[in-house]
């Protein structure tokens, strides 16, 4: 029986890099609590001896030669950037 607190919701929002309003915290706390509560139905199953599945196929490590090849050039890479300067992506200052 989980009970997600508003504080937890704010913490998770920070981890997820989301800014959420007090109103959203309120709504999200209730909705996440409902979903998590529902997800806890999985605890009805004993899975002590069950291996987790990360992928359905029996995948082996896929290796390739480390060879350079043409992909996109700098001009193209910057084409859709919201802000750029001197051939680079421009972001707000990192240090306050």
């Amino acid at each position: 029986m989980s009970n997600i607190s508003k504080e937890q919701v704010r913490h998770v929002a920070h981890l997820a890099r989301l800014a959420i309003s007090d109103e959203e915290v309120e709504k999200m706390t209730k909705q996440l609590d409902d979903i998590i509560h529902y997800a806890e139905s999985l605890n009805e199953l004993n899975t002590d001896d069950v291996e987790p599945t990360t992928h359905v196929l029996d995948l082996k490590n896929v290796m390739r030669k480390d060879q350079p090849r043409k992909w996109i050039d700098k001009e193209d890479a910057l084409k859709n950037a919201p802000d750029k300067q001197d051939g680079q992506f421009r972001v707000p200052s990192i240090l306050e």
Partner: protein, 490 residues
């Protein structure tokens, strides 16, 4: 009568005989879009100038081509990256992504077949949703009755084919996003085995579940479009290198002696009587065709939705971390510091459902909760996968309904996430197990809405799945009924 009432083979004959041109086909597409898309709202972006130029060029080329898809108008779900053609995933975050840098592998494959891309199709934002109401632009409507949803997340892809705005389309399916809208819109949609179709250039939602697949009006067309997009791709490390069979060659081999499993959980409480009746009638058709069916159990089915939401949201929370407002997408105008810029850009750019799932996934992966939620769900995934493997030891295919009910009304359940999630209860287990599944029309509700029959087969056994579907389609007329857009049902 529309040109799109013909099958792909019939259209190729007409092209060869010069009865029609590729330009005629493309003009048919846009004239239909102009006539009905203000009601259906399937398209986010159109590419008319380029499509018409390409048609002209194809018409000038030799007709001695071998591709069966030559010149056919196709619509592409907006989470498949198209070079130079706006790709938004129906999200405000990507509203300004008008000039993507590369083509998804499936787009390169379609170019080799010379299909003509008509435009990009609406969807639930980042493929998260079952009704198309989570599109940040507008909600696509069901061509059978525009008061109803087309399903989702590939709602635009299914509605555009049902409304004959395009000949066929591509969608993507993470928990039912091709099969459920195909069922709601009365068309044929298939989700291939995980790993069969390259995901390179499919904007990732849940990487261990996502697959691209074809949506068409007939099973035969579905087999041909699937054939064009499958195959190993070095750009997708989960793409599988296997011999690909010729799917259309075995379509007409019939179902005599076919062993069908019908999971009792798929006809249980929650499945509407009309849907159940349509599926049972469908099984009667198979009996008449010489197949046999028995009830089986997929005992962990009831846990699939919970496991799916934990796993898919966890993967989504990691995948959507790339949307940071630095390299592309919309950056918040309010941005102060770098961290502030990330947070504001994401919060302004993402809709409610996307935020909710990122939050759920971040929670399930966070320190102290990882084992209890994420790992637990992965273990339950193993149990669900084992359920399928066990049934497939004794049976060739699994058949049941695609959805518990026909389409619901716009606005009916959008405010209730858990009820919305339960809508995918019959399609989600297929993604968790990685097996192929498809939906085709098997009847209509008393309200005149389509009902879908779901056919599931073993890993990489698309041939048997398609053959089973083809036999049903040949024996029935459900696929011949068409929505009367602009007519009786407004």
């Amino acid at each position: 009568m529309s040109l799109f009432d013909y099958t792909l083979k019939e259209l190729q004959d007409k092209l060869h005989n010069k009865e029609i041109t590729v330009s005629d086909l493309v003009a048919e597409s846009y004239s239909r879009i102009n006539a009905v898309d203000d009601q259906v709202k399937a398209f986010l972006t159109l590419d008319e100038e380029k499509a018409k130029a390409q048609a002209k060029q194809l018409d000038q080329q030799s007709r001695e081509h071998t591709s069966l898809l030559y010149g056919l108008p196709i619509g592409i779900k907006d989470n498949i990256v198209t070079k130079g053609l706006r790709t938004t995933c129906a999200s405000q975050f990507l509203d300004n992504l008008t000039d993507p840098l590369y083509d998804a592998t499936v787009m390169e494959k379609l170019q080799k077949e010379n299909t003509v891309t008509i435009g990009k199709l609406n969807m639930d934002e980042f493929a998260m949703g079952s009704s198309n109401e989570n599109s940040s632009y507008f909600a696509t409507r069901n061509p059978w009755n525009t008061d109803y949803v087309p399903g989702g997340s590939s709602g635009g892809s299914a509605a555009a084919v049902a409304a004959k705005e395009v000949f066929f389309s591509l969608g993507s399916d993470t928990g039912g996003s091709i099969r459920q809208p195909a069922a709601f819109c009365g068309v044929v949609g298939s989700k291939p085995t995980y790993g069969l179709v390259s995901r390179f250039g499919l904007v990732a939602f849940a990487s261990s579940l996502d697959q691209i697949g074809p949506i068409t009006r007939t099973v035969e067309d579905n087999a041909h479009l699937l054939q064009a997009i499958v195959g190993h791709d070095p750009m997708d490390a989960t793409s599988v290198d296997i011999d690909i069979p010729n799917y259309s060659e075995t379509l007409d081999q019939g179902v005599k002696g076919l062993k069908i499993a019908v999971p009792s959980e798929y006809l249980a409480e929650g499945v509407s009587p009309e849907v159940k009746e349509a599926v049972l009638n469908g099984l009667k058709v198979y009996e008449d065709l010489g197949a046999t069916w028995e009830e089986v159990s997929l005992p962990h089915s009831r846990y699939a939705v919970a496991a799916y939401y934990l796993l898919s949201s966890s993967e989504a929370s990691a995948n959507l971390a790339r949307f940071d407002g630095v390299r592309y997408g919309v950056r918040s105008a309010q941005a102060g510091s770098m961290l502030d810029m990330f947070k504001r850009s994401r919060s302004e750019g993402f809709g409610d459902e996307v935020k909710r799932r990122i939050m759920l996934g971040t929670f399930a992966l966070s320190s102290g909760y990882y084992d209890a939620y994420y790992k637990k769900a992965q273990k339950v995934r193993t149990l669900i996968k084992n359920d399928f493997e066990k049934v497939f030891e004794d049976y060739d295919v699994i058949i049941g309904p695609t959805t518990p009910t026909p389409a619901f009304k716009v606005g009916e359940i959008i405010d209730d996430p858990l009820t919305m999630y339960a809508n995918d209860i019959l399609t989600i287990p297929v993604n968790l197990a990685g097996v192929p599944g498809m939906s085709l029309p098997c009847g209509f509700s008393s309200d005149g809405l389509p009902i879908g029959l779901q056919i599931i087969s073993k890993h990489f056994d698309e041939s048997t799945m398609l053959r089973t579907a083809y036999a049903f389609e040949q024996a029935t007329d459900h696929h011949k009924k068409q929505p009367e857009l602009g007519g009786a049902n407004k």
